[in-house]
């Protein structure tokens, strides 16, 4: 069964029927927003059943659209988030990528500004490495981007999408060794994106991120995960009751090959490891339960089939 990321938008009236339907079909609700009278569901649903959900949702004014980035966590990295340089382009980029279903986190480097003085510390590096992909938003000058990027990408293992003021071609020619994606013409500007050309640029960023993540999915598919992250999320939210008390918008954040569980590591890690998924198989056997560098959260990295020899 192939699960496809989608967004369902509809009225609050009878929306629980849609949730039940998705779950009965074997899909997973990743995130649920209730905004006044509207409900937005980000979900993974079986590819063949999209039409059925659309048919059921139609009488209650619901609409289903594909959202390629649902179930991914993306870091939007910017050299600084200084108050007197607001508004930052990264704010708009992070917000726009969210509309396509991704969970974005802004990473404002403590000392990333400047050219020679630009640097990244180990905490920032580790936090970025906990994501599926990093979108780097640098400035307007080729000289600076060429000089500072090596310092900012040192130790980063996730795919990087580089954005900057110079054209895409110029960025491609500057960076050696190449990064995974480039979007030119979106560097430092001191205003909110409103014009259609600027919105088109944001669309370009989303396209590039989608392309980079699709390639990552293809690589992951060669050695499939022992359990799908969405299913693991379901297991944890069912068996660890305390997760219901977490006030964060996404108490469990789904990534492409793991989860971020927003519970303290010291208290809950051993309980999560011992939690049974199916027939005596525990989460600890299927995934590495690690302390996250983000607050005291727990990071689960799901092991591939080649390591565990089982797929659930």
């Amino acid at each position: 069964m192939i699960l496809v990321p989608v967004t369902y938008k509809g009225g609050i009236f009878r929306h629980d029927e849609i949730i039940d339907l998705i779950e009965d079909l074997g899909g997973y609700i990743i995130q649920k927003h209730m905004i006044a009278q509207e409900v937005v569901l980000q979900a993974l649903v079986p590819k063949d059943d999209i039409e059925l959900i659309r048919r059921v949702g139609k009488p209650i004014t619901g609409d289903i659209t594909p959202s390629p980035l649902v179930g991914t966590e993306i870091a939007v990295v910017t050299p600084s988030l200084e108050i007197h340089h607001l508004p930052h382009a990264s704010c708009d980029v992070a917000e726009y990528i969210r509309r396509f279903g991704a969970k974005t986190n802004m990473v404002g480097l403590a000392r990333g500004f400047g050219k020679r003085i630009s640097q990244m510390n180990d905490e920032e590096r580790d936090v970025i490495n906990e994501h599926d992909c990093a979108v780097y938003l640098l400035g307007d000058f080729e000289t600076c981007i060429e000089y500072k990027l090596p310092a900012l990408r040192r130790g980063i293992q996730v795919p990087i999408v580089l954005c900057g003021g110079p054209s895409t071609e110029a960025l491609k020619s500057l960076i050696d060794p190449p990064v995974d994606g480039y979007v030119g013409g979106i560097g430092r500007f001191m205003h909110r994106t409103k014009e259609s050309e600027e919105i088109a640029k944001l669309d370009e960023v989303v396209e590039e991120v989608t392309r980079v993540l699709d390639r990552k999915r293809e690589i992951l598919a060669k050695d499939p995960l022992s359990i799908s992250p969405a299913r693991l999320m379901d297991v944890i939210s069912e068996k660890i009751d305390e997760i219901q008390d977490v006030l964060s918008p996404t108490p469990i954040t789904v990534q492409m090959a793991g989860l971020r569980v927003k519970l303290p590591y010291d208290t809950f890690s051993s309980r999560i490891r011992a939690t049974e998924v199916d027939d005596g198989i525990t989460i600890g056997e299927l995934a590495d339960v690690l302390p996250s560098r983000m607050r005291d959260y727990i990071l689960l990295r799901i092991k591939p089939f080649s390591e565990t020899n089982q797929v659930i």
Partner: protein, 193 residues
């Protein structure tokens, strides 16, 4: 930037220069300073790196005196100041408190100040200079230039006064001959520092 007589961004990278001319435009507009500046020359060289913004202001409004915003009534030794524009009340009180002491400056309500003064002192009171708008204006201007400059340029030198202003910024120690470079930028605008 139509309101500005002369506006130029000098940069070895054309794309970067174009972005910065837009940034300067947006920032000056946001800070309500576009009508204050008559000439502005921005020089950015990311290779050094160095940022210079030099400019000339239009004629600024003069010093605000007490009689410009308040009525001063003198009866023998008793002086009654009735405030018309509250905007200058705080700096006025500060000056009066410093000059005469808090005990002698009475303020029965928000818009009235009572004092007991000698005749000689009370005669010169209406001409008391209270507020210099150019001072805050130049500070705002320098702040706006700091917003325009590339992020992370922490080594700065600035100057303002006599209708001229400049801000030099870099992440490295500034070169010793930086004033000559600034003078050069002023001469490009047909001005002298």
């Amino acid at each position: 930037m139509e309101a500005v007589e002369y506006f130029e961004v000098e940069c070895p990278e054309k794309t970067g220069g174009d972005y910065y001319s837009r940034i300067a435009d947006v920032v000056l507009l946001d800070h309500n300073l576009i009508r204050v500046v008559s000439k502005l020359h921005i020089f950015i060289d990311p290779r050094i790196p160095l940022f210079i913004a030099a400019g000339v202001t239009r004629k600024l409004p003069g010093m605000v005196l007490l009689r410009d915003f308040a009525d001063v009534n003198i009866q023998d030794r008793k002086v009654i100041i009735s405030i018309g524009d509250e905007a200058y009340l705080a700096p006025l009180l500060k000056i009066l408190w410093e000059k005469y002491g808090k005990d002698l400056v009475e303020q029965p309500d928000r818009f009235t100040i009572l004092m007991n003064l000698d005749e000689a002192e009370s005669q010169s009171l209406p001409d008391l200079p209270v507020f210099d708008p150019s001072d805050t204006l130049y500070k705002d201007l320098i702040y706006a230039l700091q917003v325009i400059q590339p992020e992370g340029f922490k080594v700065r030198r600035q100057y303002y006064g006599k209708g001229r202003f400049y801000l030099v910024a870099s992440e490295n120690t500034l070169p010793e001959d930086i004033e000559d470079l600034v003078k050069e930028k002023f001469s490009l605008m047909g001005e002298t520092l």
